[in-house]
Symmetry: C3
Subunit: 345 residues, 3 copies
């Protein structure tokens, strides 16, 4: 893994900074937010996508670095331009394990990747954070509807549902490296948090300042219209490819619990790998009994924040405020306080 | 019931007023709205919830009164601090019938409680308002899918669905005090209104000024993901615990009818118990034939308004306007006009 | 069809212009947007609807022209008042083919009507635009769930689903003029575009400037709660009457494709009937494989834009921006540039 010391040398050479990211996932929001905060932006972009990012006057980057595809990040050019790279789901998807070695400041903490790329480590992290999770089942323990997740499945694609050990072995085989989880009955809520480096005086948490910035409900194809298909007699298995997001607010009496969950994740991440910085998300299901189950943590901006404003961002920062703006503001504040090194890695 | 005359004495002792409410349900919105309108706020809060309400700089109350639980309202302290209590669903749930006797000005009209706590009275109110409702069935009249509502069920929790008298008696028994309603096939819409004390000159209604401020769709666990469960073969009965809300707009051609419904509710409430003031909601279902069925009225702010902005609030008051702001504005306007006594009880 | 030359004479007599529309569908938004842009408005209104349009101080028209019903448009009075008519779904529904002959400037291009009122022509238009569509089936080719659309069905009302040729003939008969489409399994997304007359210098499209302003998901009764009905054993066929709209954002990696689709529609419309101007919508379904199927184009403002703000409108024009504002702005810009004649017909 790229050494923190080497990173500090790079940072010490920066007189100012720009925000750079791959043109996908939540890049429009990231560019838009930086623009509103007066921070310059660089879009790492393919020819195919460039026209889209030029189509939005308030969300286009100040500058493009053109690439053939997103597997290679032009690190030297980005560092020369004093860039801080904002990670998002597409960066993780396209660059994969090589993120570890990118010789460039990345907002957040690349140490979280170890926990995100292994489902077992993810569950360890969630349990350490005090989160209630679905039961993880060995194939032979399957005793009802269970969701089978394959390694590295992107955006829910390829998940299947099985009901018995026999069905599992027949569909998946003996040797697959899957994780089988109990199918929790309830309604999903994806809660967006932001962990800031600065703890306001007198703020009552053990770790720092955790903000709640929004909530979404992922739209999955075909799961979110499966009823129509059942109704018309289409015999097509349910699938969970994320195709978009819709806004949601939660019952206010659930929020103290969600704030505890957010703080729990921050605390445990400090113990496990030095802490998370900036946006993160806890993916949950709320049951009929209003019990909250978590099934994943994303240690970076999630696409659900592309909905932009939310009541929770308004309660935190006023109207028309976005996670994209929050990222730029955090970096500016840290730069001013001489603490950029604390929140990038 | 607390005498109106005694209330007037309390009010006459107020030189100014603050907005107070229990820290739950829609309190963040109420505090946020008051802050935007320059009205001071008091949060009645438990230790468990305090951190949440301190987490949102734009929605935290100016002052907390700490309580052990929400069954007891610190009336004397609130009156001493010149508070007007804003009722919401959690107040009704926690304080219950004792609201009648609280010796403090409550925004709205506690006279509505009689109609809200009895489902039969609620249907009487709805019919008097000219609303189309689902058929109410005696157990022996059950002739298809029917929803069984138990007394005092909170947020949809515990509702069940039956199809025959036999199923009813087997699941519910002979002596339960339930209301059985025909299961209406359609899509739900919860419309948020505000009834203002001031009637602008030339405004054409028989009663006053009814504003439409928003619409939501309640998210119920597990009903709003029941299709997934059906699809994967989970044999779990449908349940209706409200866990959150999503925004919705209605076909514009339905709105004249909804405005009539809002005015109908105001008119009938004046006849029945002296009128409602401030926010209220009509819970409806829209059928395939675009017929609108109402199944409940809430005579206070509903949690669906926590979505904040809506096209309808914008058409009424401009961008970024909320029901929380509207409450504070109404109280300010009434105080200025010397009419606070008309809209609190 | 009303001659373009005659239209130019009318336009040349205008010293200024007002925005007029029928009080239904998206009129509140159109009036609200015009007001924010400083353009005067006229509401063509029935007695039944007038009170609604007077209820919203920020969305009521400056002036009403009262009519008995919406089948007759008071063309002479509107022209005398220098009106430009904004078409929307209700105008098309109520006035029908007679729109062709209305002697008044209409924003957009009445030439699109030929393609919108015939489903076969619509599919020709979509294919020419490079859109992927569901298969269109002859009744004898029905080989699975298929949706049967009747001529002129309004807002999805009356659509039925069949599975075999036999079921088709039994329910529909031999001679009906229907279009049968393969039932696509996925989640629907309705994408709102705006085609502007002005092409900024250096803008890279073959045709002009296509903006993406929003996305919605139509709510259909009873399809969008069909799962509840299935779950409780209500044996009621699925139906698709649009009753409202909910906001949606799409996976950002899908957007370049959607931008291509929008440009494709603009390009083909120029070839087929002289081009579309202003707002339009492509109705789509996104499958599990993230393939996008289009099943309709609306060459005018759609009711989904009534949600108002969207991340995409913010990226295009800043916060709190609406399609209604965009329409007024476009007409102002065209008037200033002496090009009103290019974007009305």
């Amino acid at each position: 893994m790229f050494a923190k010391q080497e990173l500090d040398e790079i940072l010490s050479s920066y007189k100012d900074f720009k925000i750079a990211t791959i043109c996908s996932h939540s890049a429009l929001q990231i560019f838009n937010g930086a623009r509103e905060q007066g921070v310059k932006t660089i879009g790492i972009c393919t020819e195919r996508s460039r026209e889209l990012y030029e189509s939005f006057p308030y969300a286009k980057p100040d500058e493009f670095i053109m690439v053939d595809d997103y597997t290679g990040i032009p690190v030297d050019e980005l560092v020369e331009k004093e860039s801080i790279l904002i990670p998002h789901g597409s960066l993780v998807e396209y660059v994969g394990d090589k993120i570890d070695d990118l010789a460039i400041p990345i907002f957040g903490n690349r140490g979280s990747l170890v926990y995100e790329k292994s489902r077992n480590k993810m569950f360890e992290w969630m349990h350490r954070s005090g989160l209630r999770t679905p039961r993880v089942l060995k194939p032979d323990e399957i005793d009802g509807p269970s969701i089978v997740k394959f390694p590295g499945a992107k955006g829910g694609k390829g998940y299947i549902v099985v009901h018995t050990p026999e069905e599992y072995y027949s569909l998946v085989g003996e040797d697959a490296k899957t994780m089988v989880q109990e199918f929790i009955v309830g309604v999903r809520a994806y809660v967006h948090y932001f962990h800031s480096f600065s703890t306001p005086a007198g703020y009552k948490t053990s770790y720092g300042k955790v903000e709640m910035l929004g909530i979404d409900r992922r739209m999955e194809s075909n799961a979110d219209e499966i009823a129509r298909q059942l109704s018309v007699g289409a015999k097509i298995p349910i699938s969970f490819t994320v195709m978009g997001n819709q806004p949601l607010v939660l019952r206010e009496s659930l929020l103290p619990q969600y704030m505890d969950m957010g703080r729990g994740v921050c605390n445990s991440s400090k113990e496990l790998f030095g802490g998370i910085h900036g946006p993160f998300c806890i993916e949950t299901i709320v049951t009929e009994e209003l019990e909250v189950y978590a099934f994943e943590i994303s240690a970076r901006i999630v696409a659900g924040t592309n909905l932009l404003e939310s009541p929770y961002s308004r309660y935190s920062h006023g109207p028309n405020y976005t996670t994209g703006m929050r990222i730029a503001q955090e970096l500016k504040n840290a730069a001013k306080a001489g603490k950029l090194g604390d929140i990038v890695y």
